[in-house]
């Protein structure tokens, strides 16, 4: 199974977590990040979201981010699943799960992966509000979050 998956089907959070830790009693820590669709953004009510991506490049970009995390920290498993297509509020958009012997590495690696995904993986959000559709602008805070990890 690939460690990074892009799919239009809903995310099954429990299945991803259980799959990662199953049968490995050396794992002491499992840290998960789930990004969820909010019903409010930039001052407007958002009724739905469409996630576009760049098939072919997306998987490569995610694999490269995971490989970099595995080089920096001693990890026992990583999964990144990202949804594309139509989403509604409360839907999970992305899940990042990291398993390790100890918690410090799992926390750092999980946050590193989502910070890099937010600035390097080719996904784009288009949201529908009462005013119509609009592309979501990239956040300055995401670039700053990613820059923290530079050595």
């Amino acid at each position: 199974m690939s460690r990074a998956v892009v799919q239009s089907e809903p995310l099954d959070i429990a299945r991803v977590q259980d799959g990662l830790r199953a049968d490995n009693p050396a794992i002491g820590a499992l840290v998960s990040f789930v990004g969820l669709m909010r019903d409010f953004n930039d001052g407007d009510q958002v009724s739905s979201l469409f996630l576009e991506h760049y098939p072919g490049m997306t998987e490569k970009a995610l694999d490269a981010i995971i490989a970099e995390a595995e080089q920096r920290w001693d990890l026992m498993g990583v999964r990144v699943i990202h949804r594309v297509g139509a989403l509604k509020p409360l839907d999970p958009i992305v899940i990042v799960v990291v398993a390790s012997a100890h918690r410090g590495e799992a926390f750092d690696a999980c946050e590193f992966i989502i910070d890099y995904l937010k600035t390097r993986a080719p996904f784009w959000k288009k949201e529908r509000t009462g005013e119509g559709e609009r592309w979501v602008d990239a956040r300055e805070s995401d670039s700053e979050a990613q820059a923290r990890w530079k050595e």
């Binding site: 990004g35 996630l51 576009e52 991506h53 760049y54 072919g56 490049m57 490569k60 970009a61 990202h82 958009i93 992305v94 989502i114 995904l117 937010k118 600035t119 390097r120 993986a121 080719p122 996904f123 784009w124 959000k125 288009k126 592309w135 979501v136 602008d137 990239a138 956040r139």
Partner: protein
Amino acid sequence: MIQVRYFARLREELNCESESLEQVADIRTLMKQLAARGGKWAEFFAEGELILVSVNHEMADPGVAITDGDEVAFFPPVTGG
């Protein structure tokens, strides 16, 4: 020939998803050529505009050389996750 692709806001506003173009030396040359089309093209490919580029699915800088058969893509800053 190279394949050039556009994503998200670029694809919509340029009204172009993909096109085949003659090979040029590097990304910077290609961007100048696209800007020369005027209108929205000039806006998006103006120097200093925040636009991302990939060559064969890898993020690339304007200085990166282009080889015949390459797939080049232009897109806005990403907003996934």
